[in-house]
C-alpha cells in the first residue's frame, strides 16, 4: 500500500513539474505547480511529517499559488507565449547539464555514506500521536535563534514588498527603502 501511494504521488509530482515547465500559459503552470505541491504534501504524510504536510498545503498550496495566480491576473500576462528558443545552444546545454545533475544526486542518494550520523536533536514522535510537540520543542529550544531571525526576515520582506509595489514617483525606480516622500 505504501508503495502504491508512493508511485501514484511520484507520477503526479513529475507530471506536475513537467507541466510547470512545458505549459505555454502561466496560469496552467500555476495549476500544475499546485498539483506538484499537494502531491509532495501527501509524500510528507507518508514520511511521518504530518505538521509539515499541513503547513505545505496551507502556506504553499494556498497562499503562494494564490499569490502567483493573483499576480498573473493583475498583470494580464496570461496569454500564451511561444516556447521558441532564440539562442541555439542554450536548451540542449541546459538539458544535458540537468541530466548530469540528476545522475550526480542519484549517485549520492544511492550510497549510504552520505546519510551520516544518527539523531542529535531528538527522535521523531511516533506517527500515531503525531510529532507536533517534538517539533515545537526543537523549534523553540535548539532553533530559537534562527526562529527570531526569521521574524526579522519576514519584516524585511514585507517592508521591501510594500516599498517595491508602491506607486511612487516614476523616476525613482530603485525602490530603495521605505522612505516617506510619497
Amino acid at each position: 500500500m505504501e508503495a502504491l501511494i508512493f508511485y501514484a504521488c511520484a507520477v503526479a509530482v513529475i507530471a506536475g513539474a513537467l507541466g510547470v515547465v512545458l505549459a505555454r500559459n502561466p496560469v496552467h503552470s500555476a495549476l500544475f505547480l499546485l498539483l506538484t505541491l499537494v502531491s509532495v504534501a501527501v509524500l510528507f504524510l507518508q514520511l511521518d511529517a504530518a505538521l509539515v504536510a499541513a503547513i505545505q498545503v496551507v502556506v504553499y498550496a494556498s497562499a503562494i499559488v494564490v499569490l502567483f495566480v493573483f499576480v498573473i491576473t493583475l498583470l494580464g500576462v496570461d496569454k500564451s507565449e511561444s516556447l521558441e528558443e532564440p539562442s541555439l545552444f542554450q536548451r540542449p546545454a541546459a538539458i544535458a547539464l540537468g541530466a548530469l545533475l540528476f545522475l550526480q544526486i542519484v549517485f549520492l542518494a544511492g550510497h549510504h555514506w552520505v546519510t551520516g550520523s544518527h539523531s542529535a536533536r531528538g527522535a521523531l514522535g511516533t506517527a500515531r500521536s503525531g510529532n507536533v510537540q517534538t517539533l515545537a520543542k526543537s523549534l523553540f529550544t535548539d532553533f530559537v535563534w534562527a526562529f527570531e531571525i526569521t521574524a526579522v526576515l519576514l519584516v524585511i520582506a514585507v517592508v521591501g514588498g510594500v516599498a517595491l509595489a508602491r506607486r511612487s514617483g516614476q523616476r525613482s525606480g530603485s525602490g530603495a527603502g521605505p522612505g516617506s516622500e510619497s
Binding site: 513529475i14 503562494i64 544526486i105 526543537s138 526576515l153
Partner: protein
Amino acid sequence: MTAVASVTPTYYLTLAAALFTIGGVGLLVRRNTLVMFMCIELMLNAANLTFVTFAKALNDISGQVIVFFTLVVAAAEVAVGLAIIVAIFRRRQDVTADDLNALEG
C-alpha cells in the same frame, strides 16, 4: 501487494533529485519570469522533500524544523520577487527575461 519492494529513502531522494532537475532545467529554458519563479519553487520543494526524507531515515526531528525555515524563506522570496515583477511590468509592460538587459555590460 507483497511482491512490491518496500519504499526505501533512496526512492524519495531520487524523486527529489528528479524534481530539482526539472526545476533547474525549467529555470534555464523558460523566459517568462513568473514561470521561472515557479521553477524556483519546485527546486525548494525538492530540497524540502530531501530534508523530510532524511528526518525519517535518521529519526531526527531537525530535518523537519529546517523545512519550516525553508518555507519562511520561500514565502519572503515570493513576496519580494512578485513585487519586483509587478514593478518591472509597470515600467516595461513585459516580464520576459530576455528583454531585461539594462544591466548588461
